[in-house]
Symmetry: C2
Subunit: 462 residues, 2 copies
């Protein structure tokens, strides 16, 4: 599977110099503006070179070894090219073309021919009707239609540790864009389309053993083999987040026409996720907003949350959110209150801790230390208003305090959203965009921690 993300040589079948040719955009990206430096061949009727990639009329005309074929031709000729690949000894094929199972009986017949060839020659196939793979670490991508600007924007910056399994190309772009200003970025993205062979379970298995992946996030329109999915997911130790379309029969019907899936019973899927310790997310945005809680903070090991704010209104707002999401407001012992009293003049030393205008960075640090060191606190929801520079400086130290006590903090900073999102990359902190999102991050952290304990057969935390 790793060769899909790290090939040394690729044949782009269907890449030509015709106007609007999608294969050409793939050749251009691989050969001109990606840092990946493998060899690319362009297979087309005229055998012409495309953006510096050597042209051939047939796959079998290619002289060197080919690790991976990317097919982007009309559906009708795809089965022939798959056979050529088999003849050439190419074992890995990404079929980006559409018009198969999602396109009526004719498409299904083409699909059957491909399946037969694959079975016979032991090929592994990704797609059809997909974008294939993007590897932010080495710059390799076979996504079509990517412009140089976008490529540099997405792949020019450092790679992250979140890998994505995404059944729809449209969602890929949303995920990529969302990471531009975030503290954690994408590592690998795979768009698996109709999943004629490689499916989400195969990818899960790969990402579990992939050292550069810390969190896996999935966008699914259907599950093809329920049991395989559950059994693979059960063995995962890394957090797996999934957004699934088709929670209603109307949604499922709409998704069917898109990537040719069968509608799944959502209640069954939900139960399967629970059993397998997979975290269902409520919106696509959570696929990219929540992973930073796993990559940048220790896990939440209990339900008892302390709230810190220097903006009074947020005490009530967050207390509501914490209780509504199934967590609890921590109750401080007298000892903790005493320590809090000694730090500064606080409006409230009970939970939520409400600090008035304070000028000292150390005051913030002392308060957070007092809170996180308390035996009755499992995690912190911090809502600091950064009206003074010292507050930003203090927040930068919060990560260390969390490490010291092995307890997480989710941070939401009201106002000045633009400026604050810039802070989070600069200071390497998980800052969320709303109090709802920050609370949710604590919830999923705890959900994963419990699931891991269950998998390990440990007694559940209270």
């Amino acid at each position: 599977m790793d060769t899909f993300f790290n090939p040394r040589s690729v044949a782009v079948i269907g890449a030509s110099n015709s106007p609007f040719n999608l294969g050409a955009t793939i050749c251009r990206c691989m050969n001109e503006y990606s840092k990946w430096d493998g060899t690319v061949y362009a297979v087309n009727r005229k055998g012409e070179d495309v953006f510096g990639c050597k042209g051939c009329r047939a796959v079998t005309d290619i002289e060197g070894d080919v690790d991976l074929a990317v097919i982007i031709t009309p559906a009708g000729v795809v089965p022939d090219f798959v056979e050529q690949c088999a003849a050439k000894g190419i074992r890995r094929i990404i079929i980006e073309s559409s018009g198969f199972s999602e396109g009526g009986e004719e498409g299904r017949a083409l699909q059957r021919r491909i399946d037969e060839t694959a079975r016979e020659h032991g090929l592994r196939i990704m797609g059809p009707n997909c974008l294939g793979v993007l590897n932010a670490a080495n710059g390799f991508s076979c996504f079509y239609g990517v412009q140089p600007d976008n490529h540099h924007e997405f792949l020019g910056s450092e790679s992250g540790s979140v890998s994505f399994i995404i059944q729809s190309g449209g969602i890929v772009v949303i995920v990529l864009e969302s990471f531009l200003m975030d503290v954690v970025k994408a590592n690998k993205i795979v768009s698996i389309g109709n999943k004629s062979d490689i499916d989400e379970a195969d990818m899960l298995k790969y990402f579990e053993q992939d050292d550069s992946t810390q969190v896996v996030a999935m966008y699914l329109e259907n599950i093809k083999q329920g049991r395989k999915f559950i059994e693979t997911a059960r063995k995962m130790k890394k957090p797996v987040l999934v957004f699934k379309v088709g929670r209603t029969s109307e949604g499922a019907r709409a998704a069917m026409s898109h990537t040719a899936g069968m509608a799944n019973n959502d209640a069954v899927f939900d139960m399967a996720c629970r059993q397998a310790g997979v975290i269902r997310v409520n919106a696509i945005s959570e696929l990219h907003s929540l992973p930073k809680m796993f990559t940048h903070m220790p896990p939440l090991k209990g339900r008892r949350i302390a709230v810190f704010t220097n903006s009074g209104a947020f005490g009530g707002i967050t207390a509501d959110l914490i209780v509504e999401s199934g967590l609890e407001m921590a109750v401080f012992p007298e000892e903790t209150k005493e320590r809090l009293r000694s730090t500064a003049k606080l409006f409230n030393v009970s939970n939520p801790v409400d600090l008035g205008p304070t000028l000292g960075k150390q005051t913030f640090i002392d308060i957070w230390d007092a809170i996180l060191s308390s035996d009755t606190v499992d995690g912190l929801l911090a809502v600091p208003n950064v009206w003074m520079k010292v507050v930003v400086e203090a927040i930068c130290e919060l990560g260390e305090i969390c490490k010291k006590y092995d307890k997480p903090a989710a941070i939401y900073i009201p106002n000045a959203i633009e400026r604050i999102l810039a802070i989070r990359t600069e200071f390497n902190l998980p800052v969320f965009e709303s109090p709802e999102e920050a609370t949710r991050a604590l919830t999923v952290s705890y959900e994963h921690y419990r699931a891991l304990g269950k998998k390990a057969g440990e007694p559940l935390p209270v």
Copy 2:
């Protein structure tokens, strides 16, 4: 009440030239960088001028008439100044100081003295523990701590048509910032704090008859007089959105220490909102994201929603959201499908309508016209991917089609969020930031339409 927002002369009591004096920031704003051009007096111990505002030792020393007094002194001396105001004949007072009902028995005693004076002289009091008012139309604001940059940012641009009743100062800033890039802006904001006299019901009544207010949005930590609130809200024809803290007992407790309210039973409040046709929102962000649906689109008069997308995945995503939110996916008659077929090669002419890559602006317009003209459609959820400039041009015409058929469209544009939020101001369109938000906008539009019908005694729409 209008004089609170449009005074000709104001006394700022407690404004001096001491360092960190908050009253001085109010004087400076009113006198130096606001377009409001009334007269401002500064009342302080030395009788010194403050940022060009004439200084006096006592309110009664002021020579001219005074429409409004703004008190921002330590709590202990506030009752004396209230008496001075009464003696001077000032009928409207905003008390920004804190330390009253929210500050223990001593504070409650001070509050009682103020209440007595007010009753005796027929004064109207806003606060204490508040920011007072901001009127974007005339530039008048008595908010303390506002910097020139912020003032110009918030009050320099044109005013909008959404007015806010906000019980907490911290939330005011969030609301103001959120409007910087939106198609609809704030008209008036009032921060009512502890509500010793003027409460949310008084403000609702005022905004209902205020011509420049189209939508009222409220952030509440408690309701003081439930019956008065319900009866006032019942008479409202304008949409009223409310976010209330204290949905859980933990949230209510936290809010109590903040603005001295009594915890209200949330189930009772929820029922009251239903009866009064008040829309409860789920997050603070909805207070500023949803009003544009009322200001920029006709109301949704039924549940049947058509989805349009040229980004396949969103068909399923939005169908789920529509059904989960209590709306319905419209079922097209053959006639509508026939019209859709005639416009372009569509992936799907059923609902959700899925358009492939198309180059023609007119195609989009024809499709939207076919959809919105259909008798089986009450509203449109449009998810256009704006990968071509023609799509943006087409979207600009969508508002006209909505007007023509008197049906609303909620628009969500995937990707390139930054660029797209700029579009919405330029083209005067209600573009939402997520598919969830767009669906929610349709839901609240319908909720308000039904509530209005109920108030008018009309039979409910199906």
